[in-house]
């Protein structure tokens, strides 16, 4: 019994050292990447792409994205989501790509996201994707759409691929990553950068919301008692 315990402790020690080494080298890699200027950073002129070995090459140049996306769910429903009003990270995945597997696993149970942001997974449509394979990978709390149209609208070059759309409907970041944590870290960094920019919200933005709701400044409903 004592021998077993000691052997276990030695194994634990060795594993711990290994993990520590891996974490340290990982941190050094990230630091190096940051020093090289890589990451999901906000750029006044458009998105900045990140490429990691073995994943798709992002596009360059300005890309306009639709105000809403729609597609078929695995439950057979047609689902449409407005991209306005909330930051949205759109994850373009497929059931067959090996690099996507880590993301399927990470998304299975309530993945951590930056505050105020939501995650949506979009795959190819039923003609090019396997609903049964997707069913096995289906996240429990993240919407999953099957939509060729959305892939085309975002000009997705391949999977995995990510597009970050802010609440105003602007594509502020896109690219690929080898791991969810990597994407998350870069996303958080880009959001932090975005906070340093002047906000578009304010009185003008409030008027915009009211007008969208059909209420202008002369609307009598503004003056009715609640």
């Amino acid at each position: 019994m004592t021998t077993a315990v000691v052997a276990l402790g030695v194994a634990v020690l060795l594993l711990s050292v290994l993990v520590a080494g891996l974490l340290r080298s990982h941190a050094e890699i990230l630091k190096a990447l940051h020093e090289l200027g890589a990451g999901l950073e906000l750029d006044k002129d458009g998105p900045v792409s990140v490429t990691i070995d073995g994943v798709s090459t992002p596009r360059t140049g300005d890309v306009s994205v639709p105000d809403s996306i729609s597609g078929e769910t695995l439950d057979g429903e047609l689902l449409a989501l407005s991209l306005l009003g909330q930051d949205t990270l759109v994850a373009f995945l497929s059931s067959g790509c090996s690099t996507c597997q880590e993301f399927w696993t990470a998304f299975r149970d309530d993945p951590p996201l930056p505050a105020g942001a939501r995650l949506v997974v979009v795959t190819r449509g039923p003609g090019e994707e396997s609903p049964s394979a997707l069913e096995k990978r289906r996240p429990s709390s993240v919407p999953l759409l099957m939509s060729d149209e959305t892939w085309e609208a975002f000009g997705v070059p391949g999977s995995p691929y990510f597009a970050y759309v802010d609440a105003a409907g602007r594509l502020v970041g896109e690219g690929s990553g080898a791991s969810w944590q990597q994407v998350l870290d870069l996303l958080q960094q880009s959001r932090a950068d975005a906070l340093r920019r002047p906000s578009r919200r304010g009185p003008d933005r409030d008027d915009e919301v009211l007008r969208d709701a059909g209420i202008d400044r002369d609307s009598p409903s503004l003056w009715e008692a609640g």
């Binding site: 057979g76 689902l79 609640g226």
Partner: protein, 140 residues
């Protein structure tokens, strides 16, 4: 989105889901929150998730023969007023919430539009939001 002759231009900040049910009829849900996967046809699973400013709408289709009945005698998609909402007009009453139901026929098809407001006290804005949604609907 478009399904079986029912189309919707989604307003900013909304989410919508549509399907054809076992009767072959359209059931369309739209809300200002993320729609849960499991939903009663008139939003029983959605209502508890609504915040004070949130709205849920269900467009539910009936058998064609029902257009001959007095219940579906109103023609055309409704225009919703704040006074249409009542705190008791809910499938499942919840504190602070209110609902409004409209039975109508459009393009020879009978429907019910049911709207739930997260807060009855904000029904002026809520009714306006419902109207924005309805203006984006078309039924053929």
């Amino acid at each position: 989105m478009r399904l079986s002759g029912v189309s919707l231009a989604l307003p900013a900040g909304w989410q919508a889901a549509a399907r054809r049910n076992e009767s072959g009829h359209v059931v369309l849900h739209a809300a200002t929150i993320a729609l849960p996967r499991s939903r009663g046809d008139f939003g029983s699973d959605v209502a508890p998730l609504l915040g004070a400013d949130d709205v849920f709408c269900s467009l539910f289709e009936y058998d064609r023969a029902s257009i001959e009945t007095v219940l579906f005698s109103a023609r055309g998609l409704p225009v919703v007023r704040p006074s249409d909402f009542a705190v008791g007009a809910l499938q499942r009453s919840r504190p602070g919430q209110s609902g409004a139901q409209f039975f109508f026929t459009q393009a020879g098809r009978p429907f019910c539009l049911f709207a739930i407001l997260g807060s009855h006290g904000r029904r002026v804005a809520g009714a306006a939001r419902v109207n924005t949604l309805v203006r984006g609907m078309a039924i053929a």
